[in-house]
Symmetry: C2
Subunit: 317 residues, 2 copies
Amino acid sequence: PDEAALQGAADRNGQLTKPPGALGRLEDLAIWYAGWRGDARPLISAPQVIVFAGNHGVTAQGVSAFPPEVTVQMVMNFEHGGAAINQLAKAAGATMDVHALELDRPTADFTTGPAMTETELVQALRVGWTAVDPNADLLVVGEMGIGNTTPAAAIACALYGGDAADWTGRGTGVDDAGLANKTRVVAEGVTLHADSGDGLDILRCLGGREIAAMAGAIAAARILRIPVVLDGFICSAAAACLANVRSDALDHAVAGHQSAEGAHGAVLAQLGKKPLLDLGLRLGEGSGGALAINILKSAVACHSGMATFAEAGVSDG
Amino acid sequence: PDEAALQGAADRNGQLTKPPGALGRLEDLAIWYAGWRGDARPLISAPQVIVFAGNHGVTAQGVSAFPPEVTVQMVMNFEHGGAAINQLAKAAGATMDVHALELDRPTADFTTGPAMTETELVQALRVGWTAVDPNADLLVVGEMGIGNTTPAAAIACALYGGDAADWTGRGTGVDDAGLANKTRVVAEGVTLHADSGDGLDILRCLGGREIAAMAGAIAAARILRIPVVLDGFICSAAAACLANVRSDALDHAVAGHQSAEGAHGAVLAQLGKKPLLDLGLRLGEGSGGALAINILKSAVACHSGMATFAEAGVSDG
C-alpha cells in the first residue's frame, strides 16, 4: 500500500462531518482501499466479478449431492444471465466474466494421485492471472465446480492440520452418510499427499483448476493494486494457498462474508480476516463477495464524497 | 402480507438454480418482501430515505458531546449533499428527503415535564406520515438531533424496564463523566413520567419531534405496504413505541444493522429483529438502514431475476 495515500486518507477521514469513528468499519475500509489504490480520495467505478469453473475427478467418490454435468449446465446459466451471481454482479454495478477450465477433462481423483500436474497447475494459475481486467478497481473471484468443497476442505486440512472432519462440511447439501463419506475422502487425500510442499504444491495435489485460477487472479490483482473481496469457503481455500507461500499475500483482500459452510469461519480466522457480511449464504459463484461490493463502494463514497467540517460550516464538537 | 404472493414467492424460490437454502437470509428477505408488496416476483426500483431533524430541550442538561446548533448545521449539510447519508442513499439508488421539525423550538426538557404536548406529538407524527412517498417501494427513516440518544434511551427504559444505565450509551462520544450525567438524566425522566400510558404516550413524554416523525413514517409505510429497513438505536426506539401499541406493527420492517450504540442490540432483541449488518456504525441519519438497502435489492433481484432449473436446463440434484 501507498503510505502517502494511507496518511492522506486517514487525515481526510478525521475531518469529515461525523463524530470520530461513527462510520465504524466503513472508515477502515475506505482508508485501506485508498492505500492500495494510491489515492487518498478514491472512487470505485469498475468492479469486476470473475467466475471460474472446473470439474473434479474426486466426484467419482460420490462427494456431491449434484452430478458433475451440473458444472457445464451452470456455466451456460452464467452465460445466459440466469444465475444468482448474474443478479448480484448487476446489483453491485460490476462486470462479470466466466472462464470454464477444460470441463471435459476433470482433474485426477486426489485419493489416487495428485489432482493436477505441474503443467496443469501453471495453466490454471495463468487463466486466473490473465482474467483480471487491469482497469478494474475492485475484484471478486467466484467459482462453480460440482464437488469442489471437497478439495477446499482437503486444502484447509493440509494447510492447517487437525482432523478431516474439522474441515469437511455439507457443501450443496449431502446427508449424514454423504458427509461421512466426504470426510473419509478428504482424510485419504490429505494422508496420500502428506509430503506435498508449500501452499502451491498443496493446491496442485488437492485443489482443482478453478481453485488455482482464483489463486492466480488474487495474486495478479495484488500486482495491479486492485483490492479483492474474498467470497466463501472455496475462494478462501484458494487464497489460503497464497498466504501459505507469503504471509502478506492477502493484505489487499477483505473477507466479503462468512459462509454457512461449516469450516469457513475457521479458515477466515486462520487468515485473520473478519467478514463483512454473515447472512447464511453457501452458494459460491462469488455470491457473498459480490454482495459485499456495495459495502466497499458505500465506504469509499462516504470517504470521498462527504463534506469536511470546514466545508460544511459544522461545529466539530 | 398477501398470502398468495408469499406462497407464490416460496414456490418460485424452490425452483431457482441453486441448492435449497444456499442464498441463506436473502431467500427469506425476498419472500417476505414479496408478501408485503403482494407480488410473487417483485422488483425494488424506488427506495426512499427520509431524514427527520429535531432539537431537544434536554440538551440543557449537557447530555451531548456536540452543541445543539449542529442540528441545523447538519440539515444544511444534508441539503447540500455533504453528509454520509447523502452518499449512502446515492450508492443505494435511493431518493432522499429531509424534514426539519421546528428546530428553533426544541422540545421541553423531559426532566421537568413532558417533552411534547399532545398537539405537538400529533403534528410530528403527521410530518412523518405525510413524508412517505406512496410510490416508494422500500423505506429507510433516519434522524438528526443533537442529544437524541438520550430520549431514545429513556423511551427504551420506559418500555422495557431495568436500570437507566442498561439503556444509556455514549452517543456521539461523551466521556465517562458525561455518560454518568446522561444516565442520571435518563433515570430522572423515566421516573418523572412513570405514569405515562402506552408507547405513544411514552413517545410524547420522553421522545422528540424527529423520533415521533420516524414513528409516523413507519406506520404510514405499513398502510402503504412499503417495507421498511430500520436504522439504529433512535430509529429502533421510535419503532418500539409502535410495537408497544400493537404487537404486529413492525412486521413490515427488518433491522438494517446493529449499531455500536450500546443498547441497540437489546432493543432489537426486544423487537425480535436480527440485524442484516453489524459494521460498528453509530452515526444515525439512516446510515445503517441505507447501507442495507442493497442487501434487500440484491435479495429481490436474485429471487425475481434468476432462472429456474427447468428454464436453464440444469439438473436439480
